[in-house]
Symmetry: C2
């Protein structure tokens, strides 16, 4: 039996979709216990479904780490503390990203030997059902080559467990594929990754190829570059999706065209839908910490619970512990 | 009368579309002289249209700066030398990017006071006809805050002249909009940009917002980050365009849908078409240096000639010279 602590408060869409996700998830998995933390009066629909822990405070979206740590009766801090106290194996929240990640890192502490925690996400690029793992997405600003080398190992474990890729091909984000290209940091990291026997390092890769090349399973980047990479993809997808919509509402003919092409367009839209991935995961801390999207609906929150389940079931925290030693 | 030197060789599509672009361009502009450099036997269609300078060597796509500098009778080096000798005001090539940019920088030298040359491009984002200027796109790997401060000025001049924006709003690419966010380099640069009276600096910006926010005219980045930003946009656009095509060829119904929606889709495609921008420009050297796309067709090469024309006509090299002093 594994246990997941859920912060049910602070998301853009309220606690309702989160409660629905919990109910649907527990119907599917019989080896999981969920502890839902939040305002008890809002969680009545969970009576008899799972354990509910009352919390009077809700962390606002703009809260930082210190704000969260001060809000002793907040659903967020109480959910994190369940992991710290060994009462849960992992925690998920759809609340303030900065506040959640930083307070979880401070509370749960880094795994021994891990230099920095990294934020990892899996993007539904390439063939449907195949994911590209990216880390660090922005938990850090500047990183050393040793830190990036650890990220490569953690990302590789994540790709194995969450994306079901048996021997993930790891790449280093750079401005070209050649070993001698890139900043001083990239050159140093390239050397370390080549020597790292625990991962399947293929080489450096340019951003364009990282998106288009079907062989790419894991992309390693410092937090600043990783953030630019991820946010550029999101921005472009959003921009083009807006243009697509405009292009179909031009005139009656294009509107009719849409009715016919609907199925194709919907497939395209779901390929562009990052909600399907279930948020981002903090790797390197003592416990499984998942940040669900702030505007999570039932489907996306359930997929966040799925990620937690896979990570706990496969004991990834211990695998990182052993890999880092 | 202004003069443009054109390297007609070394592009993916051969010299034919380049000759066509020259002819069409000269029909439109009466105050321009073009000197076409290349294998004379391939340029017969330019007889009586413009001056042709014979060159026996063609620089291969993989050539570096030293290769180009050694190929004394190459069309690329001969075209660049026309600018050095004062016989032309600017030069354009669709050949090897690395070879062209580096050999042009070495041959023409930096404008006095300019620390580093930057590669600038205008992306057709936002409303149709409105462009976002990005620099440096990858001429450099690592940059200092002083260099980025100069890039901001050069990009601002470019945006005024080429994109017709009267008071371009300049942003610094970072992992958030707050002044205190970002790497040490970003923090230092933010301070310099705020103090720079010659530009309209608005603040830091995240990659996602840089793409979506209609107010962004110029984005300043170091060469490494700028390359990731640009290549992520290109990769995502290419990826989604492939998906779009797939979504319309799914079945007979979606194919019929395409016929109806064709006009809208074509509008979307042209918004995603980077060829329309005419390549990238090297800013900070003594002369106007434009790198046209390697796979330029007539339209895109003509748009590269248009960029050259605007830059020369508005004396941007001298404007940079005065601005940097």
């Amino acid at each position: 039996m594994l246990t997941i602590a859920v912060d049910t408060m602070g998301s853009d869409n309220g606690s309702q979709p989160i409660c629905e996700a919990i109910k649907s998830f527990l119907k599917q998995y019989k080896d999981v216990k969920i502890i839902a933390v939040g305002k008890k009066e809002e969680l009545a629909s969970l009576d008899g479904v799972c354990e509910v822990v009352d919390a009077s405070q809700v962390v606002p979206m703009t809260a930082g780490a210190l704000d969260v740590l001060r809000m002793k009766d907040s659903s967020m801090l109480k959910a994190i503390n369940l992991v710290k106290e060994g009462k849960a194996d992992g925690v998920v929240s759809a609340g303030s990203t900065g506040g959640f990640l930083a307070s979880a890192t401070i509370t749960l502490k880094m795994i021994k030997g891990v230099k920095r925690a990294a934020l990892v996400t899996a993007m539904p690029l390439q063939e449907k059902g195949k994911f590209m793992t990216l880390l660090d997405c922005g938990a850090n600003i500047e990183n050393s080559s040793e830190e990036l080398n650890q990220f490569a190992l953690m990302g590789s474990l994540y790709s194995k467990v969450v994306c079901n890729i048996s021997n993930p091909r790891v790449y280093l984000l750079s401005n070209g594929s050649e070993d001698e290209k890139g900043t001083q940091l990239i050159k140093e990291t390239n050397k370390l990754l080549k020597e790292n026997k625990k991962i399947n390092f293929v080489g450096n890769i340019e951003a364009r190829e990282a998106i288009l090349d079907k062989n790419v399973d894991v992309v390693v980047a410092d937090g600043f570059s990783g953030n630019i990479f991820l946010k550029s993809i999101e921005g472009t997808a959003k921009y083009l999706s807006k243009l697509l919509k405009q292009s179909f509402t031009m005139n009656l003919k294009t509107k009719i065209g849409y009715l016919f092409a609907k199925k194709g367009i919907e497939n395209l839209k779901s390929s562009m839908d990052y909600k399907a991935v279930g948020g981002a995961l903090l790797l390197g801390v003592n416990g499984v910490v998942v940040k669900a999207h702030g505007n999570s609906d039932e489907v996306s929150f359930k997929s966040a619970l799925n990620v937690l389940y896979k990570m706990i079931k496969n004991d990834v925290v211990n695998q990182i512990r052993q890999g880092i030693e």
